[in-house]
């Protein structure tokens, strides 16, 4: 982008103050950037970096009265946004600036028809009669690529998929052809194939309308896919800003370098895994059907979550289960753990069919198969001290108290925490640290198989890498077999020996990580791989080395 471009938004010295007693005094401090017509600026950062706050400040949507703009200006259409009156700001919102949010599932009013919600935006800003507005709604729905606009206009949001809802959000944000579109992690909650479509849609709409786009994300793949320019934020400050080429390929600031090094990618130097002996787990033709909405007098709809799933896991092997939401990958994991009973097939673990076991007979196997859950904030009992959380499993299996607690301390050290963590409560730890606690808890029973269900998807990239490295390190040291469930192919590639791709309850492809990645056979796998954002971008060579080095010495990390 050259200097002569028409600058739409000019943010100068933006500082946002937080209420007293917050972690830091300013959510955002002295941030400067401009976005021109036809330009897409990506703002990258981890949670708490202030990237969302910046966007909300420009929209005048900061949670008043505690959080407010303390200093700086944001010039839009020649005038500072922050000094405008409430009515003028309202006219700007939805008029000159459109915004879309992260969570399409909750961003639409569940009680209002889709058309009505778009119509509202038109009614608030434009002088159109009902017939003209209706026409415009249909036009917009068609423009964002939604099928059958006429019937969709009358649908309620709950009828729509996440991707469709995000399209509706985009239609709504673009209803008045704003000069600036702010997109706050608009694809983070979406499946990778849907993400691809939404990214393409945003780019297309930008071209058509010549908008400036401020795109907030934490994903460097997405950045590489769409950005013209990139701003990197860390703890409220903009540490690096430049063209996409500069920031992605020649990052200068140590934090940017660290973030890029942490981007998950397929690691070439992984040794091939040799399967030896009998499989530890041999699942044959597993089937699980859920009955939905059944009642007293009638049968519910049936949902096949797993159908004819066969899979083996050998001792020491990590099997990645990859699939989009609703593919049945979590259901499969829960069947292996005995949390769901499969409706058909066998789950043979070390010679015993778990699926035939009753509650009591299953008990000893609970020790041998353990699980790490996705949400580190919800999976630890907030009222227990960490030591007790970790020791609880062994205590339930009859380990003496002092021994169990001593082991808990050992394990906390093993996962890179201090032994003194045992005396503290979960809320005193960050997300990454909590996930380490979850792992320690799972390891406390000396399991042979670890089922990890999206263990890193709630974490920031840099923390994600540390947790992945920890899991990798531990399974090598303890010879653990692991089933690693994830929606993210890049993450799966990084940790798995074998990858199984699931689609609508079936495994469509199984192979070694390398095979699946370099030579995918099934069309769905090919589609998934093609949808990974930023494929044309290679992580700079020097940073790849940094990452490889890290992987070898994961201990003592401070996630």
């Amino acid at each position: 982008m050259s200097e002569t471009d028409n600058v739409v938004l000019d943010v100068r010295g933006l500082t946002i103050s937080l209420p007293e007693g917050a972690e830091r005094a300013h959510a955002v401090e002295d941030v400067n950037f401009t976005i021109a017509e036809n330009e897409l600026l990506c703002i990258v950062g981890e949670s708490g970096s202030g990237k969302s706050m910046t966007a909300h400040a420009i929209m005048g949507l900061l949670p008043a009265p505690h959080v407010k703009v303390a200093d700086g200006e944001a010039i839009l259409n020649g005038r500072d946004v922050f000094t405008r009156s409430e009515a003028e700001q309202r006219a700007m919102r939805g008029g000159d600036v459109g915004m879309i949010f992260q969570e399409p599932m909750t961003a639409l009013n569940p009680l209002m028809r889709v058309g009505e919600q778009i119509d509202e935006a038109l009614r608030a800003h434009a002088d159109m009669d009902a017939a003209r507005r209706r026409e415009r709604v249909l036009e917009l729905l068609a423009a964002v690529g939604l099928p059958d606009p006429e019937s969709l206009r009358r649908s309620y949001p709950f009828r729509l998929s996440g991707g469709q809802r995000q399209r509706v959000m985009i239609a709504m944000a673009l209803a008045l052809e704003p000069r600036l579109l702010i997109a706050d992690e608009p694809t983070t909650a979406l499946d990778v194939t849907t993400q691809k479509q939404i990214l393409e849609l945003i780019q297309r709409m930008q071209r058509e309308l010549g908008m400036a786009v401020m795109f907030i994300t934490h994903d460097f793949g997405v950045v590489a896919e769409i950005a013209d320019r990139v701003a990197v934020m860390q703890e409220g400050r903009c540490v690096e800003i430049g063209t996409a080429d500069e920031v992605l390929n020649r990052p200068q600031h140590p934090y940017t370098r660290e973030l890029i090094a942490a981007v998950p990618h397929y690691i070439e130097h992984r040794d091939a895994f040799n399967r030896e002996g009998e499989p530890l787990l041999d699942a044959q033709n597993v089937r699980k059907v859920f009955s939905l909405g059944g009642g007293f007098l009638r049968r519910g709809r049936e949902l096949v979550a797993a159908d004819d799933v066969s899979l083996t896991i050998h001792p020491g092997e990590t099997v990645g289960i990859v699939g989009e939401s609703g593919s049945g990958k979590s259901t499969l994991g829960r069947c292996l753990l005995g949390l769901h009973r499969a409706d058909g097939g066998q789950i043979v673990f070390d010679g015993t069919d778990l699926n035939r076991l009753g509650r009591r007979a299953f008990h000893p196997f609970r020790q041998r198969i353990q699980m790490v859950f996705q949400d580190p904030y919800a999976s630890l009992n907030p009222r227990y001290k960490v030591g007790r959380i970790v020791a609880q499993g062994p205590l339930a299996f009859g380990t003496p108290r002092s021994e169990a607690y001593a082991r808990a301390r050992e394990l906390l050290e093993l996962v890179g925490l201090d032994a003194s963590a045992a005396e503290r409560f979960p809320h005193e730890f960050s997300g990454g640290q909590r996930q380490r606690i979850s792992i320690a808890r799972a390891l406390a029973l000396d399991p042979e198989l670890l089922v990890a269900d999206e263990p890193v998807s709630a974490l920031d990239v840099s923390v994600q890498t540390q947790v992945l490295d920890l899991l990798d390190d531990i399974r090598h040291r303890l010879g653990l077999a692991m089933m690693f469930i994830t929606h993210d192919l890049r993450v799966a590639a990084q940790v798995s020996d074998t990858i199984a791709v699931m689609q609508t309850g079936r495994i469509v492809e199984v192979g070694t990580s390398k095979e699946v990645f370099s030579n995918p056979q099934h069309p769905y796998t090919q589609e998934l791989l093609a949808a990974i954002p930023g494929q044309n971008w290679e992580i700079p060579e020097d940073l790849r080395h940094l990452r490889a080095q890290r992987a070898r010495t994961p201990r003592g990390a401070d996630a």
Partner: protein, 325 residues
């Protein structure tokens, strides 16, 4: 439309089963009362010669085997015959029907009052959360919620009737005044004020608290942010987006309260000598007039069942996610 009809049909069938269960429990309760019913009746009427008792037995089918009696009772209830109050010498249904209008007038107005005021105050409090008006509303709601109904009633009588003489202390209308037309309307309205307030304050407090907390929850939801990002006027954001979603739990509770439109005003009717079903129940209880009590029990049960169905219907109208299937 067809969906709603089939939904109604299914719900009515289910409700009939529940009602049958209630009638069976009723029957068991009558039989569980100690002593021979004929002896009790005879005792109440002061005569006790064996022939009279035998006559009573025959009259009330007490000489038949139990299943036969059960059948008789169920078919009676099914045809609207709730039994006969020996004490009042009148059919139970007539007694109840006579009192129903007064009760429904009282509870209906109290219902509308509490729901309307509760929603209004709750919304005001939530919009002004943390300010003095919020504190005032929350305090009033807490007081109304915590103070016993009858005490409020008695204090109001003391203040408005005894001290100030503004409002009549008890009854449904001025006895023997023979008022007609508008005068009659004003007379009844004046009699209604205190009972309605007494009965309504409690529920008003419940609705206000419920609405307030529900709004505070909904107001931070994503779609409210979306509405703001669209640049909608604040009023529209509150009414169309926040309130509409926040009102759902209130409806649940309003449905429950509606079920008690008949049976829930015993205390207030007693305090204000209101000639309604509640009073009837209270008197029947004191006089051990089981037939009347059980009749009221059946009628109240039917009300609860009917309002449950209505609540579910209202829900499906307001919340498209809930389907009538």
């Amino acid at each position: 439309m067809g969906k709603i009809v089939s939904f109604l049909g299914r719900r009515v069938v289910k409700s009939l089963f529940i009602l049958l269960a209630i009638v069976l429990i009723n029957f068991a309760l009558i039989r569980a009362a100690p002593g021979d019913p004929a002896l009790v009746i005879a005792g109440q009427s002061g005569a006790s010669d064996p022939q009279y008792i035998e006559q009573l037995r025959e009259k009330f089918h007490l000489d038949e085997p139990l299943p036969q009696q059960l059948w008789t009772y169920v078919t009676d209830v099914a045809t609207g015959d709730l039994g006969y109050s020996y004490r009042q010498q009148r059919p139970v249904w007539d007694l109840i029907a006579e009192r129903l209008p007064a009760t429904l007038l009282l509870t209906g107005i109290a219902y509308v009052f509490s729901l309307g005021m509760g929603l209004l105050l709750g919304t005001l409090a939530a919009v002004k959360v943390g300010r003095w008006s919020d504190t005032a509303i929350t305090t009033i709601a807490l007081l109304a919620y915590a103070t016993p109904l009858y005490w409020i009633g008695l204090m109001m009588i003391l203040l408005f009737s005894v001290q100030l003489g503004w409002l009549p202390a008890f009854g449904y209308q001025s006895v023997g005044a023979g008022l007609t037309g508008l005068d009659h309307f004003v007379d009844v309205a004046a009699h209604l004020v205190m009972p309605v307030l007494t009965l309504g304050l409690f529920y008003m407090a419940v609705y206000a608290r419920l609405t307030r907390s529900s709004i505070l929850e909904v107001r931070d939801m994503d779609f409210v942010k979306t509405a703001r990002a669209k640049g909608l006027p604040e009023r529209r954001v509150v009414v169309r987006h926040v309130l509409r979603n926040a009102v759902l739990p209130v409806i649940t509770f309003a449905g429950i309260q509606a079920g008690y439109l008949i049976g829930g005003s015993i205390l207030v009717e007693t305090v204000f000598a209101w000639p309604g079903v509640g009073r009837l129940a209270f008197d029947a209880l004191l006089q051990r007039d089981y037939q009347v009590l059980l009749g009221i029990f059946v009628v109240t049960s039917i009300m609860v069942l009917v309002f449950n169905i209505i609540t579910d219907l209202v829900y499906t109208l307001i919340d498209p996610r809930i389907e009538v299937s």
